[in-house]
């Protein structure tokens, strides 16, 4: 069997099943028909884009051709020509008709509880800034999603297919299977109230296999799904982790609606977007949160265990929350599902289009936050550097420090032997140096009381101090080594017994679906969440225009009303009242201190004196 066939067979054996949310319009496809409908462009900083290859002439081969360009030049594809008004109306009408035909609503998306009702005012305010910033930022035009959907339907009408690209690499004893999914469009913002839209979307999941030394059979050990906001150890799950759903040997992915981000469990995930200009505030917020949790031992109630609790508590006010709907109630693609994968494309060895084209796989929208710019290909980042997930697929998921299970025992025993050798060295050194120390001590004691030996006595004393310190360090290292040896022995014993240790100890931030917040008068609370910031801004303007003399009081009253209403919805009125009262108490204390400083000092001294006298007299009479 050729290597290519072997790789393809391995990829097919563990190929994932993807479950989408109702209303998803784009699915993984072959890059070729996409490229046929694209043109290739070049953009210099501050210049106008220049078309290099017009639509209809672009192929994987022409895409890979070397192109010289100055520093700062960006190559990008352009998939969509925006619709005119008539085309857009026709698209909307077609969608409406299809919606009416499917009365069961199977393909219809309903947002459910709004994201703004799940977060507080700061996040809503930052969100309002973000929405306004879309007016100034470059972004994918509003009708592009509709045009992309129409174009994708045409492609599927020509040849319906669902395709992934696979890569098989070996690293540190692991066999790594990477599954890359190419989507023609990401309509998270326009279709599902998310953060961004962009042309072209590459997503990836990885399956890590171990190979038996005895018979060469392979076994899945870990999987890692690329997802928003997560990196390193937090990306991967062990194959036997209950969070990972499998059908036979196929891992199940729940794809975010429009965003196509990958999740292990179905649900609605809060993805946090960080605006660059708010980065200092975000960092300050993170530090404050960490300080409150660690220093003041302020923990939030959580239903998880271990590190999950801490991780779940970290929500920063200055990040914008967006809901990524990964409900898995729509189309499913994969083995045993209603739609099947076609023959996979192989990325190992990488074809020329993946190896040599470093540009973007869709429109360059000149968005400084990059959210609306298309991503680069599977091998590259947007800036043309190679992705870590490509050149170091183990390190990308934090697996570079973990050996395959069959090799783990060998590694442990080898490390144990090294530590044991060091232990013997330490014991010998300690014995030798202890003897030397005793001899120095004897010499020093003999010199004591002999004035003519003052200088050598001082020298001996220094030598004794230095040697004692060195010995102390060696003994500490020996003690540590003995503990390490014991730990390695126990670990080797567990490995021999076939135990693999805790499933989730490596995870510091779990992918946990957002819990449904408990709101009183839920419907009204959601409406309030949607309009509160706008109402606040309009009231501010009205106050400023018509009653500027009451601006300060008016704003204070407005803020107070807003906070009380919100706290009422969230059943947090007692906490709010307590917090405000304590704050007012602190201010009142400062006022009293300012007004009656000397009186307070005198009273404190008199009280302290009386207390001391009382204590002393009690002791006297006891």
């Amino acid at each position: 069997m050729s290597e290519r066939v072997q790789k393809e067979a391995l990829l097919r054996r563990f190929e994932p099943i993807i479950r989408y949310t109702r209303g998803e319009e784009f699915f993984p496809m072959d890059v070729e028909p996409y490229l046929e409908r694209c043109s290739l462009w070049q953009q210099f900083p501050g210049g106008e884009p220049r078309c290099l290859v017009p639509e209809g002439e672009l192929t994987p081969e022409t895409l890979a051709e070397p192109r010289l360009a100055g520093f700062g030049a960006i190559h990008f594809l352009k998939f969509i020509t925006p619709l005119n008004l008539a085309e857009l109306a026709a698209y909307r009408l077609q969608n409406l008709q299809e919606g009416l035909k499917r009365r069961d609503g199977r393909e219809q998306f309903r947002a459910g509880r709004g994201r703004l009702a799940r977060v507080g005012y700061s996040s809503r305010f930052v969100d309002a800034l973000f929405q306004l910033s879309l007016l100034a930022r470059g972004r994918v035009p509003g009708d592009t999603a509709a045009a992309a959907a129409l174009e994708y339907r045409r492609i599927m009408a020509d040849e319906a297919h669902y395709r992934y690209y696979g890569r098989v690499v070996r690293q540190n004893g692991w066999i790594v299977l990477q599954y890359w999914f190419f989507y023609p469009f990401n309509n998270w913002r326009s279709g599902f109230f998310g953060a961004n839209d962009h042309e072209g979307d590459w997503e990836m999941v990885t399956v890590y296999l171990s190979e038996s030394e005895a018979d060469g059979s392979v076994r899945p050990e870990w999987v890692a799904y690329a997802s928003h906001d997560f990196e390193g150890d937090d990306l991967r799950r062990r194959w036997d982790d209950p969070e990972l759903e499998t059908v036979g040997e196929h891992p199940v992915i729940y794809a975010g609606a429009g965003s196509h981000a990958n999740y292990y469990r179905p649900g609605e995930y809060l993805a946090e977007l960080e605006l660059p200009f708010l980065a200092p505030l975000v960092q300050a917020g993170d530090r404050l949160e960490l300080f409150l949790r660690r220093t003041l031992h302020r923990y939030r109630a959580a239903d998880g265990e271990g590190p999950d609790e801490e991780a779940d508590a970290s929500f920063n006010l200055f990040r914008i929350p967006f809901v990524d709907y990964a409900r898995g109630d729509g189309v499913a693609i994969g083995p045993g599902q209603e739609r099947q994968w076609g023959r996979p494309g192989l990325l190992s060895p990488a074809p020329d289009w993946a190896r040599y084209y470093r540009g973007l796989w869709g429109l360059y929208a000149r968005d400084p936050f990059s959210g609306e710019n298309a991503p680069a290909g599977p091998r590259y980042n947007r800036d043309g550097t190679v992705r870590r997930s490509w050149y170091d697929p183990l390190g990308w998921a934090g697996l570079d420090k973990v050996p395959p299970p069959d090799e783990a025992l060998r590694h442990v025993l080898a490390r144990r032997a090294e530590v044991d050798v060091r232990r013997q060295e330490l014991e010998e050194a300690i014995e030798e140096k202890s003897e030397a120390l005793v001899e120095l001590g004897i010499e020093a004691r003999a010199m004591r009381g002999r004035p003519h030996l003052q200088r050598p006595f001082a020298e001996r004393q220094q030598q004794i101090d230095a040697l004692a310190e060195e010995l102390d360090g060696l003994r500490a290292e020996l003690t540590e080594n003995e503990s390490l040896l014991r730990a390695l022995d126990l670990y080797a014993g567990r490995l021999r017994a076939g135990l693999r240790g805790p499933l989730r100890a490596h995870i510091t931030r779990p992918h946990r679906p957002a819990s449904d917040v408990s709101l009183r008068f839920a419907r009204f609370a959601e409406v309030w969440a949607a309009v509160s910031i706008s109402v606040g801004l309009i009231t501010f303007v009205l106050l400023f225009l018509f009653a500027p003399e009451y601006l300060l009081y008016g704003l204070a009253l407005l803020v107070a009303v807003f906070f009380f209403v919100e706290a009422g919805f969230r059943r947090q009125l007692p906490a709010l009242i307590t917090g405000l009262t304590v704050t007012l108490s602190v201010i009142a204390s400062l006022v009293l201190l300012y007004e009656f400083f000397w009186e307070i000092v005198v009273a404190a001294v008199v009280t302290a004196g009386a207390y001391l006298m009382w204590g002393n007299l009690r002791e006297l009479w006891a």
Partner: protein, 155 residues
Amino acid sequence: MVGIHDRAAARPRPRGAHRPPGQRDGRPWPVKALTLLLVVQGLGLVLVGLFSVDLTAGLWDILTESSFYATLPPLGVLALAAATGFLRLRPGAWVVAMLVQGLSLLVTLLFYFRYRPQDLLIYGMMVYALIMVLYLNYAEVPAIFRAQPGEEQTG
């Protein structure tokens, strides 16, 4: 002072529940003290408010010219309501008592920052409210009034 074992007995009773016949008054000492302090605060606020406001003036004049004193009687009534709640060990009484202190401090601070008065009543009210806040947050007091799961919640 209420002990750990007394706390369960001193938990607020749901509305309508009655003490078993023959059981003595089970209210812990801090609850009794706070009830008394709230009654004193309530009566004081009502009386000061009523005696300082010219009741013959119109409502608008009272609200605009004696706004500070006009707020005192309602606050006093709220304090008396909190005292009643303390007396009956109602779960929401602690929050109402804190609300009284918060409003009392807010009113005095607003008045202080606007007029910088030399009136000792303002400072006296501040000190009284501060003492009450400290006492209300004395560890055992909130524990007595913390609602059990399934019990009536405030707010």
